[in-house]
Symmetry: C2
Subunit: 222 residues, 2 copies
């Protein structure tokens, strides 16, 4: 489902959104709603987000960042794996913990691993995932490794709250032969959506939906 | 090439083998010779192993454990990635270092990542790779993760010098849908080769070729 998505709205379950705004998001031409965030993702607010979005026909996926906030009812589940971490826990330690707990419930058709490179060194995600900075010199090696050695289905370039560097995204684009590239971070205009869509197969638009839904809707460029 | 191999002889470049024994190995019905070891793998002894084996027509691959002992001339290169490590360096830190150094020389058609689970807790490989013990309870989760989340081409179950536990290999076999299973460790008889071939797509026979070549040849069961 992610392979066919050009545009995704990411709904942070810890942030507020009015029913009116949520309806605009869910009835827009976006391809998917991804529920996920870095902080304060709880069983309660994920369930709340799910039940509010489920009234619409849009596909809804969960980005699993807290194994205690996983529940049935989503169309798909993405398990983040941070490839520029310094601690194996954020590469797949948490994934193994989740499998220990939920393996009897899992239908692997419904879940995918989502390799991340977290670029914004000032973000909470970067700090939480004990990430290492990835320079323009190192980025090609990370991408070659993910695309041609891991042969991963996806790579998510996460600028987390900050609009990214098009030159870095150009490197990502040039070094991926088969891996599907997802871009996320700071998109809040049609121009930015267009720019990042040159390099990424999917763009993810997050924060702005909680701040200015009209501007958020303008990022759907197809 | 590994996908079609049922039997592999692993030649440790740091260990001795006579020309006569090497000829028997190289002219046997084994599918491939894999050059690799844990300790004292150097540019000199890898080059020596390569030039001696290259006189025969058998396929020869290199398991890259020391980035300073990599050279052209092998049919394929396998880059180990230890999935039960506690230190990301052995998952892909070394891989990134190698890419930094050799990316301009690499043809990705010729190299594959080889995910390892190191089982023998008393082995040098286990110690060197800062591996964590994998119990019978945890093994299914590791294998499910490698097979269904990483969707890796290969998984190498490494008992490193010790004959493995068939019950553990049965778990591996039952939890792999698409990943090609390689077994290595302690095989020194036809019976052991047969037993592990029930669970693994490829068996690797190592130490015994340096100790008793006649017994080594009997492990080729096809």
């Amino acid at each position: 489902m992610l392979k066919d998505a050009k545009h995704i709205f990411k709904l942070d379950p810890a942030k507020e959104i009015t029913d009116e705004d949520l309806e605009k998001i869910a009835e827009s031409d976006t391809d998917m709603i991804l529920v996920g965030g870095t902080d304060n993702v709880t069983e309660d607010n994920v369930l709340n987000a799910l039940s509010r979005v489920r009234r619409f026909s849009k596909s809804v996926a969960l980005e699993v960042t807290n194994k205690d906030a996983v529940m049935p009812g989503f169309d798909h589940y993405f398990i983040p794996s941070v490839f520029n971490t310094s601690n194996i826990r954020w590469q797949h330690g948490l994934m193994l913990e989740a499998l220990r707990e939920y393996s009897h419930l899992i239908d692997y058709e419904d879940i995918s691993m989502l390799p991340y490179i977290i670029m914004n060194e000032d973000s909470k995600a970067f700090e939480k995932a004990e990430a290492k900075p990835v320079t323009a010199d190192e980025l090609p090696h990370y991408i070659d490794m993910i695309d041609k050695l891991y042969k991963a289905e996806y790579v998510y370039i996460e600028y987390s709250g900050m609009y990214g560097d098009p030159e870095m995204m150009d490197i990502v684009s040039q070094h991926t032969d088969n891996t599907h590239v997802i871009y996320g971070g700071g998109i809040s205009s049609k121009e930015q959506a267009k720019e990042m869509s040159q390099y990424a197969d999917t763009i993810v638009v997050g924060n702005i939906i909680h701040e200015d839904v009209k501007r958020a809707l303008r990022t759907i460029i197809k």
